[in-house]
Amino acid sequence: MLDHLKEAFLEETRELLGQLEESLLELESDSSDEGLISKTFRILHTIKGSAGMFDYDEISRFTHDIENVFDLIRNGKIKADNHIITLTLRARDQIEKLLNNDGSSCSEETSEIVESFRKILLGFNEAGLPEKVKTCIVSEAVEESRTEDYLIKFKPSEGILKNGTNPLLLINELRDLGECYPCMLTNQIPPLETLEPEKCYLSWNIFLRTSRGIDSVKDVFIFVEDECELKVEVIEETGTPVGLNDCSREILDILSENSPNITRELKKLLSEKAKLPKTEKAALPANLKTEKCSDTGNAKSIKVGSEKLDYLVNLVGELVTVQARLSQISAQKNDPELILISEEVERLTCELRDNALNIRMVPIRSTFNRFKRLVRDLSQELGKKIDLFTEGEDTELDKNVIDKLNDPLVHLIRNSIDHGIEASDTRIACGKNETGSVTLSAGYAGSSVIIRITDDGAGLNREAIRKKAVEKGIITKESSLSDKELYNLIFAPGFSTAEKVSSISGRGVGMDVVKKTIESLRGNIEITSESGKGTTITLKLPLTLAIIEGLLVKISDEYFIIPLSAVEECIEMHRSEIQNENGMHLVKVRGELVPFIPLRERFNITGQSMEIEQVVITSNDGNKSSANSSKIGFVVDSVIGEHQTVIKSLGKFYKDADGFSGATILGDGTLALILDIPTLIKREEEMEKKLFQNR
């Protein structure tokens, strides 16, 4: 099998498995939904069918019994109860495993699951076990039996044409088997006035000499078995067979007489005519037509490997860079003609870039769907009743972002269910609905996507967090913190409020890792909570990772990009305005003291700082409207302006260079580093802490 076909099969089956899971889970809440049942059946059927075609026989066999069970469900013979759904979900996972194992290896689990399905089927023997049907219509390896002569009497029913059967093709097929002398009988054709042109009034007597065996002969007529009278007789040979060319006319004469004794007559002829001279071989004219077709098949969508898309986006990125350079040069040359071309190139490049990026956008639906299973499994495991609601599944994000989003979301949902949602009895005692709810929602906000995970659980326990944070030495007993600051502590490394480490939350990944992952996607995470009512975690993510909206700034001869999403405002700062309190750099912004980081000093860039410098004020939690968001300024020589740029990774070699999320190439070919604001702030805080301790 060709690789790309197999690749397509694997991709499709994975997709189908996702759909299977989804429909099973939906089926669980409404086991009588016929649409869902037939959808489930259809998915299983497709998996089985294509697995067999692509040499995944193990999957095909395995799925067979499950399909039969769902056939029973479809026919209303049994109900899709919890047992069957759980079993089928397990089977689904097993199919996934088999798929990854290249279809081989029959583990114990496979046979155990198959056994369970067989048990269900056993009660319904009459429908469960498939009827025996001829499994192969085209005999693959035809055994060479001895040459024999056959008499075939073939009388199609009058309506055979209506099924699209062309009887002449069947006769032609017989020709391929050996030496064939067909004789068409026309005696059944009615007078013209009663003749219906769409009916078939013809029948054939055929003499065939072949070594393929009687089954091959019968196989020719397999599609029309029920629509014809068919008789295949072997003409017993006496002595060595004679050359048929010598007696073809006689054979046809006998055939055309259509007497009941054709077999005997033929036998006699063949024995007698051994020594007669040759005659011409009669043959039907070949039924050949050449036709032309203009319409070529156009599929609605095509599947493309994501690495191909990545490559395309990279190329477009380079094009954007070159285009920026062209714009710059054409502006310098001030040649109207060149400027015209340059503007046209700019417009096209922009369109091309938007389109290329758009191709990579995929709806978050499949990610959300995966969590339905997670929530179901967790709620069974923990004995909590939980409903998962999803909103905005059609929200689209860059595939690369979605791929990286899975783990953090899993962790956050686990947390919500494990720590957030109370046990049923507690909930009832609090006057809440026994069934807890977790809502996953996604939506757009400007050039960002907002994803929220909301639970209606107990909410965060401020005291517990405070106690733990003091214990861990993250804060001191005296620290006074706002609710928000307090909640944010759960993102501190090594922080966990669970009294006991459960198998669900205690998987060694902390909330700090979640926060880090989100930040690596240039997003941010925020938490709000109300005691007794629940917790909401909000993720804000960029639509795409490939392009960044940034502010281009300059220090000495070095260029840097500050992501625009973090920037709040830019202000001018005179030397005299700098407030130096306890060694901390502070600047007054409309009455508010904002700490700042002198980048020239931090980055060891040589040269004197200017008399008037620019401060780019950023807010580190991305929530610009919030009153208590912490602002930090970054001091640079000059702010050049907004710049939309393609991000280039600094590569493996600079993997330790945190503080920079990549580089970008400016119009003139110079490189500008992209600042990783959260990391730079964190590093500053650590430095200050050390300074503080040393004192």
Partner: protein, 121 residues
Amino acid sequence: MKTILTVDDSSSIRQMVSFTLSEAGYNVIEASDGKDGLEKIKKASNVNLVITDLNMPNMDGIALIRKIRESPAHKFVPILMLTTESQNEKKMEGKQAGATGWIIKPFKPEQLVAVVKKVLP
């Protein structure tokens, strides 16, 4: 060149059928379900053979076969259905609806070509 319409909701099977038949020198049109198939056959100037799966969303294979037979232009076009061995009943239903023949899944590319040759002049 003969044109074959292949109707299947599984894109991998569709691709396989399409690839095999194109290699064998046929012109292939793909459709993803019965509804799509019906639209495509109506639009195409000349379809010489239809190969359809039976279990499909929107419009299943049986319904598609009936619809095709209803149309005067395609009264006699050969139709092959893709079935599995467990679907004998379906096979009968398909024949009654007007299918010419069937191909049992799973099949090998050469089997597909052989069956196509059987019904396509």
